[in-house]
Amino acid sequence: MLRVYWLEAKSEFFKLARMKVYATSTLLFPLMFYAFFGLGMGTQQQTGSMTMAKYLLATYGAFAIVAATLYSFGIGVAVERGLGWLDVKRASPMPPAAYFIAKAAVAMAFGAIVVAMLFTLGAAFGGVRMPATQWLSLGGALVAGAIPFCALGLAIGNFAGPNSAPATVNIIYMPLAFCAGLWIPFDFLPPAVQHIAPALPTWHFGQIALAMLGAPTHGTVLEHAGALFGFGLIFAGIAWIGNSRDRDRVCG
């Protein structure tokens, strides 16, 4: 029985790893942005008590996780659901949970790989130095934070059409990343954007990651974790509605 879950995850992993679009969107963009902003501009510049290279490691790590989950779930589910592949799976004796568990595990694995690459860049070229426990707690918080975004991706995937899903994901996740201070430090954002940031799940996620570095944050880790949990429930609910709505669609 465990073998099914293992094979499902393995298939999902290779399926995505061999897709150039997925690899570039999830690997290249976060690494490139971090190289520009974190390394190019920021080894000297201070944000509070730390270099930009260190500070942005947390926020680009969060950005990488959000990208990995939304692309895998949002686009993956929309395409497989909308173009009939999910029906083939549903008609088979696949354990229904295997599909989602495999997708979540693989999105987290890809996220973890990008985070490890960001860490390597930061340590090798950004002069970032931390105790091992802090590297681990930041990495752990980032990977665990993938869960509510898997739910958001599933909600998008259950509503978006197979052709419009990539655009939908981009329209949703780019503002989510920017307005939460994942690209540019939160304190540099226009005040209007700072006001709406607490309404975004990405902001809470970024704040948790920054707290792992000991950077100054707004509110406690527990509050942010609670907010993310709430967002996760809402997204899961929306995904569930989308799924039930989808069950009986027209077919000849």
Partner: protein, 236 residues
Amino acid sequence: MPVAELKFVTKRYGPIDALRGVNLTIQPGELLALLGPNGAGKTTAVRILLGLTQPDSGHATIFDRAPGSHAAKLRRGALLQVAKVPETLKVREHIELFSAYYPKPLPLAETLEAAGLTGIENRLFGDLSGGQKQRVLFALALCGNPDLLFLDEPTVGLDVEARRALWTRIRAFVARGGSVLLTTHYLEEAEALANRIAVINQGRIVALGSPAEIKAGAAQNNLEDAFLELTKQEVY
């Protein structure tokens, strides 16, 4: 006992009556062709028998169980019309995954052989020809060693050679004692493969019998004329 059964099944999609009181049984070891023009309700009937769509009224069973139940799924396989199959997986990877869903699947080599995929098992799905892609879907339906196969327009869009090749694979499955529900709008395909043909039009079964009986019933000496005769009538 029939291996699959629809009893007085109706299904509406908004203003469209997809099925209007359909009765249909598939007997052990037979290949039943559900023949009809596009939009006649063939795919809806298959989806109900697979538990993918719920009927508005009436009753569907597979091996006396609910179509969506795990017990029913273990004894059947399905080749559905899919617009896009994940293309970056190898043939072997697709089959190994689906085989793992079943307690007693066919060995990989046997599935590859039965579907005519031996030698291309390490190719990516996206690199295959149309006929090869259909044979992979056939392999996924077959790999669990099912007693019943659902083939929803399995040869649509294939060239003559690829179509004949798949016919041979389907006949081999029936020869080993398997039952098949095949939907098609190719008369030639129904006549070549089926023990019995159910002609469906506008959501109703309008004729049922052996290919010879269908022709006789419509007083036509070829199936194409019989089919046109049967499906032209208005049911309103």
